[in-house]
């Protein structure tokens, strides 16, 4: 009898080139994505060593972190940013790596375009110098973020050296209630585990709630795995997965597809496989979520009150420092708090489904006067779909403008910075101090909660507006 294995074990073990005694595994990497911010020093490294890129056809470059989201047809104004973008283009050209730079029809956020063009595939090992690489786990891939030294390793040898993480499974059954989205499911899990609760683990998400999700929804969940400290998260591929990837540019075709399918169909956790840790939640109890603090674990159901310091895990002084930064008090409600900015976008919630959700709330309403809204599609492909599906008309009618693709205010490397002191409802992934601009204050939430805030000018339970829709 062969040993039973988890999905994670199957993919990991089949990619180990070499095991080091009391050391890391040498892991072969099938797909490598690079962007302008974390790659220049890696390219410089192989240049200094005078070695080539071992498999340029397995690396894909796109510009996203440090790009403007308006007037992309004009030269980039900031000289440092322009130089970084130029370096990526030059490096890609020099080493024969495909490059989808600013203005390219396929440009977009690395974790949005990877799946869109079929670069992301089940059973693959995928790395990128970006912690949200975990997104690609939605397809049953092992995908995780790496540092620049590791980017250099992949360029030079198509391998990295990693100790094998432990295995965790998170089971959630039940249906998502009204107004609940995959983002809420993820924020709920992180609020239960805390921001370090899955550190050292690779997570498999299992159960009805994930099975029922679209591929976009699964990407949102896996994307946020890193926010509870996990190395990555993955979901076993199923018919929905195969249907999504079929026919995309980099997906295998013909006989190659059949060969790949033979492998992909083995990608599930065996019945008796053992996890190092297993958690189970009831999905029907999850509410629309919102964060109130300065890490993604500080989240709660939107109708709840901010917990008291003595009721939370971790140190009270760190907790109070966090609330002080946010200018919130223990025990108070978030509902009705006036907000200044809304940000819809990022590798977490910058896909077409997110724009559909946002539009479903703002349709027939007007953007609140006190709100500045930045709506940033994750890619040109998403941007095109927004136009073709008539979503742009709904947004325009409601007083919103659409920007051009990029990471934008999620990390505020470009000019899209939330000003100091301002409160933003953001569909992105991190509410760290100053993450969206020095002094900015971030409330992480779903596209539905962001839309409800955008039209009411304050923190609002989207279910209230959905009731109106039904009644109206």
């Amino acid at each position: 009898m062969s040993a039973t294995k988890t999905l994670f074990d199957k993919v990991w073990d089949s990619h180990v080139v070499h095991k080091i005694q009391d050391g890391p595994d040498v892991l072969f990497i099938d797909r490598h994505m690079v962007h302008e911010v974390t790659s220049p020093v890696a390219f410089l490294g192989i240049k200094n060593r005078n070695i080539p890129v071992m498999h340029p056809e397995k690396t894909f470059a796109t510009a996203d972190h440090n790009t403007p989201t308006i007037n992309q047809h004009l030269p980039v104004a900031d000289p440092l940013s322009a130089n970084q973008l130029k370096m990526l283009e030059e490096n890609a050209n020099e080493y024969g790596i495909s490059y989808w730079g600013l203005g390219h029809a396929k440009n977009g956020i690395v974790h949005v375009v990877g799946p869109e063009y079929g670069i992301t595939q089940p059973g693959a090992t995928i790395v990128c110098g970006d912690s949200h690489t975990s997104t690609h786990g939605a397809f049953g891939a092992i995908a995780f973020g790496i540092g620049t030294s590791e980017v250099e390793m992949v360029l030079a040898t198509q391998c990295i050296m990693q100790p094998k993480p432990k295995r965790m499974r998170i089971n959630i059954n039940g249906k998502m209630s009204k107004g609940v989205t995959p983002k809420d499911v993820a924020l709920f899990i992180i609020s239960q585990l805390t921001t370090s609760g899955a550190t050292g683990y690779f997570v498999e998400y299992a159960g009805e709630i994930f099975r029922d999700m679209s591929m976009e929804g699964r990407m949102t969940v896996c994307n946020l795995s890193i926010e509870m400290g996990a190395r990555g998260g993955m979901i076993a591929p199923d018919e929905k997965t195969f249907e999504y990837i079929k026919g995309r540019e980099f997906t295998p075709k013909g006989a190659d597809w059949d060969k790949a399918m033979a492998y992909w169909e083995t990608l599930y956790t065996d019945e008796d496989a053992i996890f190092d840790k297993e958690l189970t939640f009831d999905g029907s109890l999850i509410e629309p979520m919102i964060t109130y603090g300065t890490n993604p674990g500080m989240g709660m159901g939107i109708s709840n009150d901010i917990p008291m310091a003595n009721a939370v895990q971790g140190g009270a002084s760190t907790y109070q420092k966090s609330l002080k930064y946010m200018d919130f008090n223990e025990g108070e409600s978030m509902m009705g708090k006036p907000i200044d900015f809304v940000f819809l976008g990022s590798c977490t919630n910058g896909r077409i489904e997110d724009f559909r959700a946002f539009a479903s709330i703002v349709k027939g309403k007007k953007k609140a006067d006190n709100v500045t809204a930045w709506l940033v599609p994750g890619s040109h492909k998403v941007e095109t779909a927004i136009k073709e599906e008539g979503i742009l008309d709904i947004l325009t009618e409601a007083g919103f403008e659409l920007r051009e693709p990029g990471c934008s205010a999620c990390l505020a490397m470009n000019d899209d910075k939330i000003p100091a002191g301002k409160l933003a409802v953001s569909t992105s992934n991190r509410n760290f101090e100053g993450r969206q601009g020095p002094g900015s204050r971030t409330l992480l939430a779903s596209p539905l909660v962001a839309a409800a805030a955008a039209v009411t000018g304050k923190v609002t339970d989207p279910r209230e507006l959905m009731e109106e829709m039904v009644a109206g």
Binding site: V41, T199, M413
Partner: protein
Amino acid sequence: MAYDKFNILTSTAVPLPIENVDTDQIIPARFLKATERVGFGDNLFRDWRYNQDNTLKEDFVLNQDKFSGKILVGGKNFGSGSSREHAAWAVYDYGFRCVVSSFFADIFRGNCLNIGVLPVQVSAAFLQKIFDAIENDPSTQLEINLPEQKITLLPTGESESFDINDYKKNNMLNGFDDIDYLLNIKKDIETFAENTPL
């Protein structure tokens, strides 16, 4: 990239008794525009160190003369957040060779090990002892002994052992990096690559 070998480090330490110190605090994204690995130490903890008009925040530890040294001691879950190796570079470039905490985020820990900063994980109780000792006397010296995998509070002699795998320990002791290792097994990798299904 080559880094200084690490053997035994004896130094005073800078205390940062805050939990969940994330990489956006260690180095904010707006300072990631460089294309070479130089000068990141200037912006280490930028928004905790400086006001928005670039004047110093006097109460932050790095701005207090009484605290100095090559060891940074942080609260639980140090280095959470992004994969930016720039965070580890900033720590190294500022002059730290070792970070002590009761818990590290995975990617940050790995990045540190790859560039020559030793992450030393201690128990929550020992971490508190270190914070207390430095608070009582900022000239308190710590000894980080990598060969013996031991951290010692020198004034009292209290010590604790820490984990590091043999492979990484050997790298740190000798200043080796992973690429040297990988290039040595390039033939095996090529053979493996020919047989991958994807």
